[in-house]
């Protein structure tokens, strides 16, 4: 439970809620209902909540800083709404920053994904000068460059057109499937994205 108005929420007011690995979830809600908060709680960035959250049957609050960085390198990946790119690095360097930790993808695969999302011409440009939509796609690719059991995607298509969004969504699903990972995707409104079986209302 968060310290804000969450009355009637399926998530915040629930007795308990289990998110299973391997399943895609969409969290739909208007602004201010706590979409980002939910992901932040799961990701360990926010700790100002009541109740208990478990990851692999362990309380989140029991993880040490060392364990959190292991979790963020191997179990949870996050596509931040605020992107969290480094403006002074190129798009490619931003992606490599993550990829080099586990050398998850080859350079060829990264190029392939960038090509798929239409940002391969911009990879050598500083991230700071790309448009927000392009930066969003860089952030998506970066998030896919690591092992994870759950991918947390926070309004990651907000600045992309429908066609690009669908392509990116397909890529994300593909990568999740390859890892047998779950997906929690937040969105302002009904996305109309295919193959979503679980939707949560905040």
């Amino acid at each position: 439970m968060l310290e804000q108005n969450t009355s009637g929420s399926e998530v915040w007011e629930a007795e308990s809620l289990i998110l299973e690995q391997g399943k895609p979830y969409v969290v739909e809600a208007p602004s201010g209902r706590g979409k980002t908060s939910l992901l932040s709680v799961i990701y360990g960035i926010r700790t100002d909540y009541q109740g208990l959250v478990f990851l692999d049957e362990r309380k989140l609050s029991s993880f040490s800083s060392k364990e959190w960085s292991k979790i963020r390198k191997n179990k949870l990946s996050f596509i931040f709404q605020g992107l969290e790119l480094f403006d002074e690095l190129t798009a490619m360097e931003n992606i490599q920053l993550k990829n080099r930790i586990s050398a998850y993808h080859s350079d060829e695969r990264i190029m392939e994904m960038a090509h798929l999302l239409g940002i391969d011409p911009f990879l050598q440009r500083k991230a700071g000068i790309l448009s927000f939509g392009q930066q969003q796609r860089v952030a998506i690719i970066r998030a896919l460059c690591q092992p994870f059991n759950f991918l947390l995607a926070d309004e990651c298509f907000s600045h992309m057109d429908r066609e690009n969004s669908l392509t990116a969504y397909q890529l994300i699903r593909e990568e999740c499937k390859a890892r047998e990972a779950g997906l929690i995707l937040t969105s302002l409104n009904k996305t109309g994205l295919p193959n979503i079986d679980h939707s949560l209302k905040l």
Partner: protein, 398 residues
């Protein structure tokens, strides 16, 4: 991880780090050079005195107007002698014996001009005397009194008196060959006896007319009738004449000595003072530079606070994030260590050259203690900075 360095090294302030670097370097060089020179000069000071021939120091009470008017005695009382003997620097102490009867010396014969003079004798144990001569012995049967006079007396005559008066200079050997008479007078008229006198040596150490101690004891016994005076001079042997406590003791008690002899003791005091001052200044500089270091790195971290939080969100542990800062610190510290040792050894080499020109033996290489000091200081500064870096990055991470 190269990218991590690229991100985090961007926010350093060149001026701050350079300032901290140069400041610490200056402090280090000052400190190390100070220690190096102190060790060198100390070695030189103790080298200048022959270890097998410890310093002989003759001390007397300062002469004041009270002595002149006969109000106060110029001699050392037994308590005062005992006190001197108790000092740690005094390894051997002896008081001067003096004659307790009138003495005259005169010449006779054709070869030398006739003269007669009143005289005094003093005696100290043989081991304090720097003249070794086979003739230095008293045999009542033979009746020849060996005498040692100060080298200064001969110099005074040869280089001062003789040239100005048109008199010939006299070499030591010739003077030793001159026979003269010594008249010892007991109390009462006609109670005297003449002996042969011979100069057997010239002392650089003792400014007095010396006769063998057994002679003086014998003569005092036989002729002496003066009231026994406290000895006016004391001779002492010190193994370490550089010991500053000698000078301090003498000054406190108002005793006097030939200052030249205690030059190394005085120099030691001055040296210690100068070096302490130098070390103090160096310590202050290093302290300040250390603070600038600490603050520069902290400033660098707080400038990068947003990036550090971001990296942490991406899964970097604060220890990983600290690494670029720690590496930067190591590089700077290694630079300071290397440069300060280099500069100090250059200075040491320079001093070595200069000292060689004065034929002083000063080491051209650094003393072991220099490396020890540099290493422990660097470790201290590095360790505290590393701790500070870890603490402040940890604060920014979850």
């Amino acid at each position: 991880m190269k990218l991590l360095y690229q991100i985090l090294w961007k926010d350093y302030s060149r001026v701050h780090l350079l300032g901290a670097f140069l400041g610490t370097l200056a402090g280090f060089v000052l400190l190390l050079a100070g220690i190096q020179f102190y060790m060198d000069l100390k070695a030189v000071l103790s080298e200048n005195r022959d270890l097998l021939d410890p310093e002989y120091i003759v001390i007397n009470k300062k002469v004041n107007i009270g002595n002149t008017l006969g109000l106060t005695g110029g001699g050392f009382s037994e308590e005062e002698i005992a006190e001197i003997k108790a000092q740690s620097f005094a390894d051997q102490v002896a008081a001067f014996n003096s004659n307790e009867f009138p003495v005259q010396a005169y010449t006779e014969g054709e070869q030398v001009p006739n003269f007669i003079t009143d005289l005094f004798f003093e005696a100290i144990p043989d081991e304090f005397i720097d003249v070794k001569s086979e003739d230095w012995r008293w045999d009542p049967e033979e009746g020849t009194i060996p005498v040692i006079i100060p080298q200064d007396y001969l110099n005074l005559y040869n280089f001062g008196f003789a040239p100005s008066q048109g008199l010939p200079q006299i070499p030591k050997g010739v003077l030793s060959m001159i026979n003269f008479k010594i008249r010892l007078k007991g109390e009462g008229r006609g109670k005297y006896k003449d002996y042969n006198g011979r100069i057997v040596g010239f002392s650089n150490r003792v400014s007095s007319i010396l006769v063998p101690i057994d002679f003086l004891e014998w003569a005092n016994e036989k002729y002496g009738y003066f009231k026994k005076n406290d000895p006016s001079q004391i001779i002492l042997v010190s193994k370490d004449p550089t010991d500053p406590s000698i000078i301090r003791f003498l000054e406190e008690r108002g005793y006097d000595t030939i200052r030249e002899k205690l030059k190394s003791s005085r120099m030691n005091i001055i040296l210690k003072f100068v070096i302490s001052f130098l070390v103090l200044v160096a310590a202050i500089i290093i302290g300040l530079a250390f603070l600038v270091f600490l603050l520069s790195l902290q400033l660098m971290i707080s400038r990068s606070a947003e990036k550090i939080r971001r990296l942490n969100k991406l899964g970097f542990h604060y220890r990983e994030i600290s690494r670029p800062y720690i590496l930067l610190l190591f590089l700077l510290m290694a630079g300071i260590t290397g440069l300060s040792l280099l500069l100090t050894s250059l200075l040491a080499g320079k001093l070595h050259q200069t000292a060689e020109a004065w034929s002083l033996n000063i080491s051209s290489s650094l003393h072991g203690i220099i490396y020890g000091t540099a290493l422990s200081l660097i470790l201290l500064i590095t360790a505290s900075n590393v701790a500070a870096i870890l603490i402040s990055t940890k604060k920014l991470c979850k």
